[in-house]
Amino acid sequence: MMTKIEQPMAPVTAGIRMTREGETVKKYCLFLSEYAAWLLGAGATCIRLERNVKRMAEAFDHEVVMTIMPRHIHMTVCNRDRSDSYTYITALRTSMISFDINTRLSELSWAVADGRLDFRQAEAEFNRIVKTRPADKRLVLLLASCANASFCRLFGGDLPAMAIVFIATLAGYYLKQVLCEQKVDMRIVFIMCAFVSSVLGATDALFHLGQTPEIAIGTSVLYLVPGIPFLNSFSDMLAGHYICSFSRFMHAMILTACLSIGLCGGMMMMNIGMF
């Protein structure tokens, strides 16, 4: 005689079906939505977001379906037998692009998938990650200036050009930090910073200090180029997320246009180049 072994049903409390860990579908959905909003705001691509969220949902024994819009995420989480589901719409967290937060959130998804963290531990770790303080502004300022000066060298600039690019980037990036603190529109910030950097980058041409003045002017505004939105845009296009791809591409194009306006304005005032 065969004995039929039945799996115990998940307990039902006040009409809400709980999971084995005692969590509701709603809690999973809210957590995953918050996670997705932070990950996308930190500069992740849509494909990374989809994989991370699906990985964690599978670890929680649930299924997830998402619609990723440029500024919002629509998420539906349901249990395996589709008896319960929850839908939530969340807005993107408008935070600075942070590879640190991006990486740590991805590590969190792997930790959950590998069973090293349960839901409550994942929530606690997530809250810890999103409270990460940004990098020291002065250090970022110094390193960005060094990087831009290195770019100048890579493009064939001499030592005076490198020094001028370092100072021009220092001034332009510092102005960018000040204006961002004052919540000035990013497009105005790009125009002003590109103008300041290009004017200071033209020191070489104005005072005849080195042999490569045109390289100094050209590389003095490189720190403003929106590389991450362009790269993410192409990545989203390859993954089939055309709305996000187009949105990111337009955002990058607008910032590049503002950069160009500032650079052309600076070159025009300094009587350099094509004018």
């Binding site: 001034a171 510092y174 102005l175 000040v178 103008f195 300041v196 004017v199 200071l200 033209a202 020191t203 104005l206 005032m269 300094m270 009587n271 350099i272």
Partner: protein, 67 residues
């Protein structure tokens, strides 16, 4: 007749503006730290402007005092 050298003039304006911005922000931050975030200009209380030893301090309540 002096002709205005626009590139040099522009360069000087931008350079001095950036130097002034940096100096003002550094001074403001130092001032804020020393004076615990007080404003440069503010309306003070009368007791802070004129104080004679023996005056009642803020928060002191003397119920049997007749003014």
């Amino acid at each position: 007749m002096v002709t205005l050298n626009i590139p040099l003039f522009t360069w000087c304006v931008i350079a001095f503006a950036m130097v002034a911005l940096i100096i003002i922000r550094v001074c403001y931050k130092n001032y804020s730290q020393i004076h615990h975030q007080r404003h440069l200009i503010e309306f003070g209380k009368e007791s802070e402007e004129i104080f004679i030893p023996g005056d009642r301090l803020e928060g002191q309540e003397v119920y049997d005092d007749e003014d």
